[in-house]
Amino acid sequence: MVERRCHVGVAAALAAAVWLGAPAGARAHGLSLFAWTEGTTIRGEAYFIGGGRVRNAKVEVRDASGRRIGEATTDTEGRFQFVASRRAEHRFVLATADGHRAECIVRAADLPASLPGPAVRAKPTTPPPIPATRPMTQPASAPVAGRGEFPAALRREIRQAVRRELTAHEQRTRLRDVIGGIGWILGLAGLAALLRRRRAGQGGREGP
């Protein structure tokens, strides 16, 4: 009687755990942050690894030396934006109060050449670069997507497709990681057993 009840209890507890976990299974607590440029605007997204947006979180903006140059806040979709005033490296740092942290870097080369370099102070309201003035003199290394040559709708499509692919990929690799991790643990246990046995064998008998 007691036994059966406890079996049912275990099953119910595990089922509850799995059921509770299912909708949020995607909501792991690793944080991820990424950013891209559109003209002088740096846009980014923050999400929990496996899915789930990071809402209303403060993202610190720092320069290459780690000095704080500003702050952005994510919206309900986990998106944020920051208008660059200098063509310099921007580091975005998101740290939640309970100890999770993510960081990403936007390189100076991804920002338009029309912005002043790191050393020069710029006016905060720099308008987007006027393409007509220097279409041919852009550095060849400049990324295409950052130049605003794709229409916004297309960019959004691409981003969503990439996100879908990434999420699917993460789900697949996660299962593989779980199995791989358990394999590692079993392997380590085997190794530990082997080492102990060998040591015991050395202390005991002297070969055949």
Binding site: V2, E3, C6, H7, G9, V10, A13, L14, A16, A17, V18, L20, G21, P23, A24, G25, R27, A28, H29, G30, L31, F48, I49, G52, R55, A95, T96, A97, D98, G99, H100, R101, A102, E103, R174, D177, V178, G180, G181, I182, W184, I185, L186, L188, A189, A192, A193, R196, R197, A200
Partner: protein, 212 residues
């Protein structure tokens, strides 16, 4: 509860790493042939438990199972949890490599404490007491780990009330779920595989096995 890279100061990282190293040494030193498979099983359980999530308010918390590891393994919980945390960091990106020591201490120290507090109850008394002790170990270990994690964050200069509030809010529901699960597993192991719960030196006297 997995503290990420770059959040803690170097001092806190070292202060957390030293007890972790000591605990792992004691655990490995006490390890014998019989207990190696047990350590591996609990390590694997701990490793996978972190993927079972319970949504709590703005964040989400997951099962930890450090109380169970502590009750079953004693000091060997340290190496078991270290290995599981290392794999979680490398494979899932939970926590981090530099915070491995702190995270090991945060999760394994309460596990060992639970071993000394509750393992006798799970091993020797009646089913009800065993369940209660298992539940207290499961829930207590999670809450204690939450407090240790807040302490680590606070010493790096965060406001204690905010951090502890967040972590406790996230971990009270987990502690309840985990207490139930650990209690049931303890009762189950006690009946089906009592040798799992016996540590190396535990006395073999175990006539009290209610059947019928």
């Amino acid at each position: 509860m997995h503290i990420s890279e770059g959040v803690l100061s170097a001092g806190v990282l070292i202060a957390g790493g030293v007890p972790a190293a000591a605990g792992v040494s004691v655990g490995l030193w006490r390890l014998d042939d019989e207990s190696i498979p047990r350590v591996a099983v609990l390590s694997a359980a701990f490793f996978v438990a972190s993927l079972i999530h319970v949504p709590v308010g703005p964040t989400s918390a997951h099962l930890v199972l450090n109380g169970l590891a502590g009750v079953v393994l004693g000091w060997a919980a340290f190496p078991a949890i270290l290995v599981a945390l290392l794999l979680q960091a490398v494979l899932f990106g939970f926590g981090g490599l530099t915070t491995l020591g702190v995270n090991t201490t945060v999760m394994a120290a309460p596990a060992v404490a639970c071993h000394y507090l509750f393992a006798w109850g799970v091993r020797r008394s009646g089913p009800a007491v065993a369940f209660a002790c298992g539940a207290l170990a499961g829930g207590g270990a999670v809450l204690a780990s939450g407090l240790l994690a807040s302490a680590a964050l606070v010493t790096t200069g965060r406001a204690f009330s905010a951090v502890a509030g967040l972590l406790l809010a996230a971990h009270v529901p987990i502690a309840v779920v985990e207490g139930l699960i650990t209690g049931c597993i303890a009762g189950f192991l006690r009946r089906v595989k009592p040798e799992l719960l016996d540590l190396r030196l535990a006395a073999p006297a175990r006539e009290v096995r209610a059947h019928g």
